[in-house]
Amino acid sequence: MPEQLAFAMEVFLNGLMAGVLYALVALGFVLIYKASGIFNFAQGVMALFAAMTLVGIQNGQVPFAHLINAIFGTHVHTFGWNVPSVFALIFTVGVMILLAWAVQRFVFRHLVGQEPIILFMATIGLAYFLEGFADLMWNSEIKKLDFCMTANTCLPQGINIAIDEFTFNAFGYGFFIDNLDITATIVAIILVIALVAFSQYTKQGRAMRAVADDHQAALSVGISLNFIWVLVWSLAGFVALVAGIMWGAKSGVQFSLSLIALKALPVLMLGGFTSIPGAIVGGLIIGVGEKLFEFWVGPLVGGATENWFAYVLALVFLVFRPQGLFGEKIIERV
């Protein structure tokens, strides 16, 4: 097998893995968009907030330590204990549910019936607010995220030896595939199956889909819109938490984590805002596309094409199919 092809295959596989991570973020967008028509720009910051909260609880940081110190002249930083990851995870889920409730209660309940674009801008404001809030709460330095279910079973990191050896024997060239990416892929698949099962087979899930179809009709058959919206924001918060853990373990918990939202946007455009399979397929296309483009065309034009390739791809694509791959057909009426 020629070496160039082996390289390309390795790039392709890594692109698939990256695509899964993009899809993970995009899923959070789709959930909220389907149920409430809100295009939640704050999804990436929610992932950052979730990851910071998780690390903060794990390390026993005092929330708002900096602010308290600045106001009262004290010197508190940590409680001096370490919380096991599992409990920290449960706490963080609780915080995300609280956040979902607060967002619903204090922001979007007041904006019901506004134009979609106003709601979108509100989520941009929310993103700024949350970012500042997370920094104030847990301070903004880069943190390392170690997530261990028990003392020995942590999130695996580094090269996967088995694949390396297998491909070396088969093609004479060992592929570099990160263990973390493989884990992320498995987690993402489980998450998607769980979400689909939830929305298809449970009572709350069906209520959620009813709300997505038609708010007023859902309200008239006795579904509580408030409850469903809090539920949806909590689910999105949970997805954000998972995405935050995966990305945080990969590159540290820091501000740039929130930029993954920007990576997820072209995925959404490609897949359509309303489709869960669309988010997955779109994520894979973008992940593979940008890695292969960088591999073949990048060196010719000076590199770092990953910043914009996804957007331009999605843009070109949209010109031919304005509702995305799996989006609902856009019908316009006067």
């Binding site: 295009f39 900096h66 602010l67 600045a70 922001v107 007041h110 904006l111 506004q114 979609p116 674009i117 106003i118 979108f120 801008m121 509100a122 941009i124 404001g125 929310l126 993103a127 700024y128 607010f129 949350l130 970012e131 500042g132 809030f133 920094d135 104030l136 903004s140 920007l262 946007l265 072209p266 959404l268 455009m269 805002f273 034009v301 000076g302 590199g303 770092a304 094409t305 910043n307 914009w308 957007y311 331009v312 999605a314 843009l315 949209l318 010109v319 304005p322 995305g324 316009e332 009426r333 006067v334």
Partner: protein, 358 residues
Amino acid sequence: MFYREAGDFKTTYSADNQTFPIKIDRVGYYVALVVAFLIIPFMINDYWANAILLPFLIYSIAAIGLNILVGYCGQVSLGTGGFMAVGAYACYKLMTAFPEVNIFFHVILSGGVTALVCILFGLPSLRIKGFYLAVATLAAQFFLVWLFNRVPWFYNYSASGQINAPERTVFGVPVTGPNTEAWATYLFCLVFLVICALVARNLTRGMAGRKWMAIRDMDIAAEIIGVNPLKAKLTAFGVSGFFIGISGALFFALYLGAVEVGEAFGINKSFLVLFMIIIGGLGSIFGSFAGAAFLVLLPVVLKVVGVDMFGWPTDIVAHLQLVIVGGLIVMFLILEPHGLAQLWRVAKQKLRLWPFPH
């Protein structure tokens, strides 16, 4: 008591159609102009110019440009930073290629170049709408910043990859470069702002503005009554790009002097200008000014209060600023989706009846 139109009789059509039909508004407008042109230049110092006045003037131009696109024509754009970068780099290339031409024309021309680029990226707006378009304009943002970073021709193959404004003069007074004086740069920007605001105000009152607003309110209905969506949308993109390009050129040449594109014209700039028009008021020229003033002043005020008065560390104040800006945006959207401009309108309406409201 003083603020009312009663007794102010108009005898010609042009008097009836003027921008400020109420006398006290008109007087206020001329007073503001006199203060801006004849009083501030004598009182200005470097701190005031660099911290408040120049950013306010330049962001106002950008906000007017974006407001035409988003507020009047309803096409949400997140590519403002990229388009400002086009203006800056066009200005730089023109300044270095034609040093003998007055910088005034360079700035205008860079506005023109930006308009063309903006129209190019506006083409997809004919097919895609709403959020899809907002995200599509991000393509412009990322692609343009990458382009200016990676193609050496744009920064004249300089080793640092930065662009530096060479010294240029207007009537013998330097306005760019290291030897400028505060009043000169201030006046230069002010002239552009006044021209831009006049043009924008009159465009939005006329045929073009009405077409944009028709497209914004319901594009299909507008199409049926005979508004050509291609022309209306692309002119909005073009005019908006022209203003944004001018502001980008001024931002680079007069305000910063040296620019690293990813830092000065990144995605945050796009959001900043968008926030200005949301807080100021979508679809209002006055709102563009108010929003720009608000978001330029807010960090300065927070810094003065937080760092200088309370002695807090700067990072906490920076984070607080994010919280406050984000919170304010949400609050404005909930309480008054039409922004400061609407508050101003309501206040004026109340003033007209004062002191005898119904």
